[in-house]
């Protein structure tokens, strides 16, 4: 049976792009986080939407699970094939199809990486950029959007998933659909004003279909960019500071940092405030308004702007910041996991207190980074725990700390971002029954055979 499916897959994509070899199965069975590995039966790399369609049709006929994967960098195990089946590595579909400069949008295939898009835009229209997450350049743009990722433009414009202007999707039953203006016009400029069908696919972790193309909003990119770090001790004052900074509407990105090492950072929390401008004057204008907005806190000696050493500034202005990836090597052990909690900004002090408690309780080090979403409508608060892959004790501690962080997130009224299967269960458990039922019905409608990334968003009523 497997042999037949293997042959059928070869028919569709060619022998070079199907593997049932244990080396590929090993690599695709796991990600860099702490989820237990689970082996697929096949790894397939399609090049066209027609190939994706044929694979999905085959999977439906044979009732084989399908797991669409980008670069598999969520660290939550979202592309681990929990019920075996086919992992679809989408990264051969890596064409940038259209750049519409006046419309400020780009149309890309599912496998286009952050690095490729960033480099393409820098070369072809340096006055436009997309909202770049702090992930490595190898992460896919579509993957990040589908998990409601955030990027450097999120404080100004919201979650990256709110920047979608159109989708092409292969449904679990094999039909190909277009969502948004592209469904009736040659232009991919907007999902609205049509019914918001995109919502059937954003945040569903591939359980409702496979996105093969995406229209993405681009935003003005200014020539100059600078960063200030505002330092505080009192987390309650951080909430106030963020409110004031976001009111000015002068910052592009607003981030938070809190960690016990290096020693210089211990006991303080920092707000990263990024400003951009086409001229020095514009930059200075924005900087002064931001300084002014925090003048009360400064006068009270409760907060101040840090003098940044050139090396540190360089690291903060790097796009994306490789420093965040390097969190993985803090224990010289190649790993870190984090609970990304989406919380109201006013819950920051609670979240921070929980983080420190959890780290102390589990005798593990921690790091917090965060990002304000919209004008402080909420924020991403990361509870991050490095671990050493060669040290089972450190893995155990990180796992426990992670679990507790997810529980703490729900406790304080937040919502876990990109939750793994266990955390999805926690969410569904807590969720309004009506909402859970709706989710179940949508999944059942779109994926009657239950082949799409099973194990995820499993509604048990």
């Amino acid at each position: 049976m497997k042999e037949e499916i293997y042959k059928a897959l070869i028919e569709i994509v060619g022998e070079e792009f199907v593997s049932n070899k244990k080396e590929e199965l090993y690599i695709y069975s796991r990600d860099s986080g702490l989820s237990d590995p689970s082996f697929p039966d096949f790894v397939v790399m399609p090049k066209t939407v027609e190939e994706v369609q044929k694979i999905v049709q085959l999977a439906n006929r044979e009732k084989i699970p399908v797991v669409p994967a980008g670069a598999s960098l969520t660290l939550s195990g979202l592309t681990i094939p929990h019920k075996r089946g086919i992992v679809l590595d989408m990264r051969r579909m890596d064409r940038i199809l259209e750049l519409n400069r006046r419309g400020r949008y780009v149309v890309i295939e599912a496998g286009v990486t952050q690095g490729k898009l960033q480099s393409f835009l820098e070369k072809n229209c340096p006055d436009l950029c997309h909202s770049l997450p702090e992930a490595p350049p190898s992460a896919t743009v579509v993957g990040n959007i589908l998990i409601h990722g955030q990027g450097n433009l999120t404080q100004s414009y919201g979650f990256n998933s709110s920047m979608v202007t159109g989708l092409e999707v292969v449904l679990p039953t094999g039909q190909i659909c277009r969502i948004g203006s592209c469904s009736l016009s040659p232009y991919w400029f907007s999902i609205e004003p049509l019914p918001y069908l995109a919502g059937l696919f954003l945040g569903w972790f591939g359980t409702t279909g496979i996105v093969t193309k995406l229209g993405l909003k681009l935003f003005p990119k200014k020539k100059l960019r600078d960063v200030e770090l505002f330092v505080l001790e009192d987390p309650n004052l951080l909430v106030e500071a963020i409110y004031r900074i976001t009111h000015t509407e002068m910052a592009e990105d607003v981030t938070t940092i809190a960690q016990p090492y290096p020693l210089m950072y211990r006991g303080t929390i920092m707000i990263g405030i990024y400003i951009t401008g086409d001229t020095e004057e514009e930059l200075e204008f924005k900087r002064r308004i931001i300084w002014e907005s925090l003048s009360e806190l400064i006068k009270a000696k409760e907060g101040g702007f840090m003098a940044l050493m050139p090396e540190m500034k360089k690291g903060l202005l790097e796009k994306p910041m490789s420093g965040l990836t390097r969190t993985a090597d803090i224990l010289k052990g190649g790993g870190f996991v984090y609970c990304g909690a989406i919380i109201p900004v006013e819950k920051f002090p609670d979240a921070l207190r929980k983080l420190v408690e959890i780290a102390e309780k589990n005798d593990t080090t921690y790091a917090h980074s965060g990002r304000v979403i919209g004008r402080g409508h909420c924020m991403m608060f990361a509870f991050a725990f490095p671990f050493n892959r060669n040290d089972s004790e450190s893995i155990k501690k990180a796992k426990k700390a992670l679990r507790e962080s997810y529980a703490a997130t729900l406790e304080i009224g937040g919502v876990p971002w990109k939750p793994g299967v266990e955390e999805q269960d926690m969410i569904l458990e807590k969720m309004d029954r009506g909402t859970v039922e709706l989710m179940g019905r949508i999944r059942g409608l779109l994926d009657p055979n239950g082949i799409m990334n099973p194990g995820n968003w499993e509604v048990r009523l």
Binding site: V231, E233, L263, Y265, E302, F305, A307, E311
Partner: protein
């Protein structure tokens, strides 16, 4: 205990320490009142508005210690020049921890201490530094920076252990890369009656003597430079003659300009840390415009913190920022 001699102030009629201050407008009459308040340990606007540039230590021609007095009083009265979280960062920066052990790296004299500037280790290479051993780390950090943050007691608290670390290794002489370290073990230690059982050597002295040895290999640079005096240099101006001798040897002209020598302006770094943004911009602008007016091609720094703070504006003005030792290396390099 600060060895402050109030009778020296009683016999002063110019009150240079306060009247010459570049950041507070103080006339002689006001100065005479405020100095009395300071001597009596009372509150004064001086304690709140001082930007901690260290200059008054140099301005005082009576050999008294007005700046050390100010910082002691600031601490006594709980007056923080900078916001609390900024002060905390600086305090944490140099906490000696259990894990920290003094890294001597097999160092033998002649030895140079780079304290908290490990990034400069790789720049101390080549003929100019042949035969020098390097020591780096928190355990040699002089702590003097806390004068900027109203925490001078930390200096006295941590300094004995630092001195012990150095002396215990048997060093009789230590060259200090940063001027502030040198000034701690001379001016500050003297003012507080702290015993220093080794001879501190200033980096300028080392550079000058070594350049003299390599005189035959020096290729005069024939450039005009502006020199940026850092704050702590004002604590030990007596070593500055080495600097002018170095400039002579390497063939550079230290341009005559308004904001040099006793009239030097702060690089602005600490002023910014004290959250005085407008003053920071003003001070940096005036300083750099002054360099442009004097047609300087390079701006030479002796302090890494000044370099961090001012190099961006200097570069934008078309002047090349460079550390003093890098300038000396240029004069010894074979390539053009």
């Amino acid at each position: 205990m600060l060895q402050f001699n109030k009778s020296l102030c009683e016999n002063c009629y110019t009150y240079d320490c306060l009247t010459k201050c570049q950041y507070m407008e103080i006339d002689v009459e006001t100065a005479s009142e405020e100095i009395k308040r300071l001597i009596n340990g009372e509150d004064s606007f001086v304690l709140h508005n001082c930007v901690t540039c260290y200059a008054c230590e140099e301005y005082c021609k009576k050999g008294n210690h007005p700046f050390y007095l100010i910082t002691d009083l600031q601490e006594k009265k709980g007056i923080l020049p900078a916001p609390k979280p900024i002060v905390k960062q600086w305090i944490n920066l140099a906490i000696p921890t259990k894990k920290d052990i003094p890294h001597f790296y097999g160092a033998e004299e002649p030895v140079i201490s780079l304290c908290l500037f490990p990034e400069y280790v790789k720049t101390l290479q080549g003929k100019l530094f042949e035969g020098l051993s390097l020591v780096v780390g928190r355990y040699f950090f002089c702590q003097l920076v806390y004068l900027h943050f109203g925490k001078p007691s930390l200096i006295r608290e941590r300094l004995p252990k630092i001195i012990e670390n150095i002396a215990n290794h048997g060093f009789k002489e230590v060259i200090f890369f940063h001027d502030e370290c040198y000034s701690t073990f001379t001016s500050y230690a003297n003012a507080y009656g702290i015993d220093v059982p080794f001879r501190p050597i200033h980096f300028f002295e080392y550079l000058y003597n070594r350049l003299k040895e390599l005189k035959g290999e020096i290729r005069p640079l024939n450039v005009k430079i502006a020199y940026q005096r850092n704050c702590s240099t004002r604590l030990t101006p007596e070593k500055e003659h080495y600097l002018d001798k170095i400039f002579d040897l390497i063939g550079v002209e230290r341009v005559e300009r308004k904001y040099d020598r006793e009239n030097a302006l702060c690089c602005g770094g600490i002023i910014r840390a004290l959250q005085k943004y407008d003053l920071f911009v003003d001070v940096q602008k005036r300083n750099v415009e002054d360099m442009i007016k004097a047609k300087a091609e390079y701006c030479v720094f002796n302090c890494p913190a000044c370099y961090s703070s001012l190099s961006e504006r200097v570069t934008k003005a078309g002047i090349k920022p460079i550390m003093l030792h890098e300038l000396c290396k240029l004069a010894l390099s074979k390539e053009g």
